[in-house]
Subunit: 218 residues, 2 copies
DNA sequence: ACCAAAGTGCCACTGAGTGGCATGTGCGTG
DNA sequence: CACGCACATGCCACTCAGTGGCACTTTGGT
């Protein structure tokens, strides 16, 4: 019936939707970056994209969500990757890290730029941090389902899967923050996704030592 | 000058402020619990407490904040405790856990009840999760300052302090969630703060294993 | 050509949060 | 005790995020 054999030939209707969504995200990130998150009203954003405010809310549930859209796109891909990963005999933390790192390294330069822009904004406005963290929390729950269904780990009876997710998220956030700061110090260079990977792996290596970290004598 | 020798004799003006604040928190948590977070408008809450909406916003910065007030009170005490802790030759994670556990066990039964109520609400409404997480983030930054100033750990050059905080927070959140679920299964009993401590310590013990957690064969 | 469904625009509305100014109350001074 | 100062509050009008409802246009299938 409605099964076009060609991959990239989505129903024309879907194309328009994707385009509108992309317009909204791009314009929003640009305006927010230029003038600050709450100096830009939704009315203005909608006017620029030539879309009614009502339509905006059919694409995004809140003003924060459009600013954090790059995070959603990243994690959607990571989850896709994880859901086809074979449960080899390696620590989940590694499987998790591999999925994240390879997803980031597969990003286009443009997408990496948007991701950094979103991260930069998050650092400035508390409401964006809040939304981003709550978004992580939601995805943690999705990952826990995955761990239960595909990897035989039951988060109901075992606290470790839950802790593992939070550990991995802490590492991810640390790597992302470091990447963004580094990118800001070299504004001329294009964003380097391998810089993220390096930071991620370094943070993973530091995890074990964090557990026994002891105060230094003054 | 204004240094009354008596401990509990605050300036009378301050007493009133504390009382108003307490009224707002208590009434808010009660109403939110009875009818749900967004079925209660601020206008209504203010009417109950007989306070103008303008005054509400001199005590709290948002509707979410009043619902999460018990968290703020808890962490304020924990930070106070940490800021007088001597940097003995023990892992920071233990010092941190001791401060948290002893603070919780020193709570009154009433305060424990409010804390559980706030946690219960957070589980229901995304906006409250978001606010609570962002609040944790803020306190993490305060803890990092403390680590730098009192414990000689520099978060600028060493990723471990930052990771340590996130680890501790993950354990805290897990223990709190478990405590609340347990309390809900036994609604007749008064809240048991030692139950929280037990869960906290168990989760700390599980941390190390989380790092190497490996998929189970189906 | 036609129809049903999906997508959109428009309009009015609720409720959170803010600014400004007038009013009142506690607190220290003479 | 009276005065004045500073702080806390109340009131009012305003902005803006987000929602509900309905009418209109576009798209894809028949």
């Amino acid at each position: 019936m409605n099964e076009p054999a060609e991959r990239h030939a989505l129903p024309l209707r879907e194309r328009k939707k994707l385009r509108t969504r992309r317009d909204l995200v791009d314009t929003a990130l640009r305006l927010f970056t230029e003038r600050g998150f709450d100096a830009v009203t939704l009315d203005e954003l909608c006017a620029r994209v030539e879309v009614s405010k009502r339509t905006f809310f059919r694409y995004f549930t809140s003003k924060e969500e459009v600013a954090n859209a790059p995070f959603r796109e990243l994690w959607t891909k990571v989850l896709d990757e994880l859901s086809v990963t074979e449960p080899a005999d390696r620590p989940m933390l590694e499987l998790f890290g591999d999925a994240l790192v390879s997803t980031v390294e597969r990003m286009t330069v443009d997408d990496a730029g948007w991701l950094l822009a979103a991260q930069r904004l998050s650092g400035q406005h508390p409401a964006l941090v809040a939304h981003a963290l709550q978004f992580c929390e939601q995805h943690t729950l999705a990952v826990l389902d995955l761990l239960r269904d595909r990897f035989g780990l039951d988060p109901e009876r075992d606290p470790r899967p839950r802790l593992l997710c939070d550990l991995a998220l802490a590492v991810y956030r640390h790597a992302l923050a470091g990447w963004q700061e580094h990118a800001d110090r070299h504004p001329a260079d294009p964003p380097s996704t391998t810089d993220f990977s390096t930071r991620y792996r370094a943070a993973v290596a530091a995890l074990r030592d964090s557990l026994t970290l002891t105060p230094q004598p003054r």
